[in-house]
Symmetry: C2
Subunit: 223 residues, 2 copies
């Protein structure tokens, strides 16, 4: 019974995600769904990344949190068009469902954007199951979270198109084997590209930014 309810919710979400996909394609905007645990550094990474994309690439961000507009405030200074989604009005949802993304994407307006980033709720479980009509999914893991997380939370690493290993500037102070973490990512998703970065110091940001630029160019070229 519980499984049927879950199936129905996911099927309804799929229909709404298809509607989003159509809207994003019509507006020729590349949409990236960024997922991670709370505090892995999604917002800091976006802050550092987006300043390097503007003004050539026109960026919008929908930033999901249960409460507060902290992240939107931080991101607004990059020059991106930013809208905060607070899920406390949707029952404190632990993920962004497609219909929630639709509501806010329409409010933000995608007509003048090349890239829309959806910073999902900090959660390594639920966001993995909800298609939002995005072009690609990124999963971020911080080196403070333990090498075994890809094995313990495999679904999010399986559905992601790329993985970002963040906070590598902290490696000297941790018992964390970055090689093992990447190996575990590839155990659950063999071909996944992994970008090792330190958002704070901007180490390793370039390949990830290059990946983003290529994806945006491909989508625009597909016009």
């Amino acid at each position: 019974m519980e499984i049927n309810i879950q199936k129905n919710v996911l099927e309804a979400n799929e229909t709404e995600a298809d509607r989003n996909r159509k809207y994003f394609n019509e507006n020729n905007v590349f949409v990236l769904n960024m997922m991670s645990s709370p505090g892995s550094g999604k917002t800091e990474t976006l802050c550092k990344t987006l300043t390097k994309l503007a003004p050539k690439i026109r960026v919008g961000v929908l930033v999901g949190d249960i409460c507060t507009t902290n992240d939107a405030d931080r991101l607004a200074v990059t020059g991106a068009k930013v809208l905060q989604i607070n899920t406390d009005q949707f029952g404190g949802d632990c993920h962004l469902a497609a219909h929630v993304v639709e509501k806010y994407a329409l409010e933000l307006g995608c007509e003048d954007l090349d890239l829309l980033i959806v910073e999902n709720i900090g959660n390594l479980v639920c966001p993995a199951e909800f298609d939002i009509g995005e072009d690609a999914k990124a999963v971020m893991l911080s080196v403070t979270e333990g090498e075994d997380k890809p094995l313990k939370y495999p679904v999010i690493f399986q559905v992601a198109d790329i993985a970002i290993l963040n906070k590598i500037d902290l490696l000297p102070y941790l018992d964390f084997d970055a090689g093992l973490a990447v190996e575990n990512m590839k155990k659950v998703h063999p071909q996944i590209p992994v970008f090792e970065i330190a958002a704070k110091t901007e180490e390793g940001l370039e390949p990830w930014i290059q990946w983003l630029k290529e994806k945006v160019a491909q989508k625009i070229g597909r016009k």
Copy 2:
């Protein structure tokens, strides 16, 4: 409609949690529900804590993960009775529901225990909403996760009886204001006791262990 389904699920869970509570009370075992993000250090904290409780306090642990038995393997060496719960067989659930805890608590057997710790799925959102019949809830935050997490994920801090701020040994290497983190916890839950610890170095463990011992003694004394 979605809200009604959620309400029904939570009501069904409440009935099952009441059944658990009865079972735990009959067996005179203090039950603590430990919640946090993935990688905050629940397992490491329990490894260090449980060796200090045995053999005087007889401890059982139910450890929830979507996949793997890594955590159960780590905890087994403490001498506690440990059982791994993998939620991939329950649709990859992002929290431990009361009926799942019931199944495993019965399998573990609480007759010979003074303390049962339920290490919940790493998730700062969903576990907060599911009563499992426990005596107390603990929420853990790691100093690598950002001071604003209590404001962004307030429910879990509101329902928790205590908070643990872990990995304070990393403070010298981070821009993290521990005072502000505690202040934010108290903003959403003014009276919450906060234990600042470093599980790895065992700094600050004693007050938290003392709290646990007192709670167990109170429950046993209530016999």
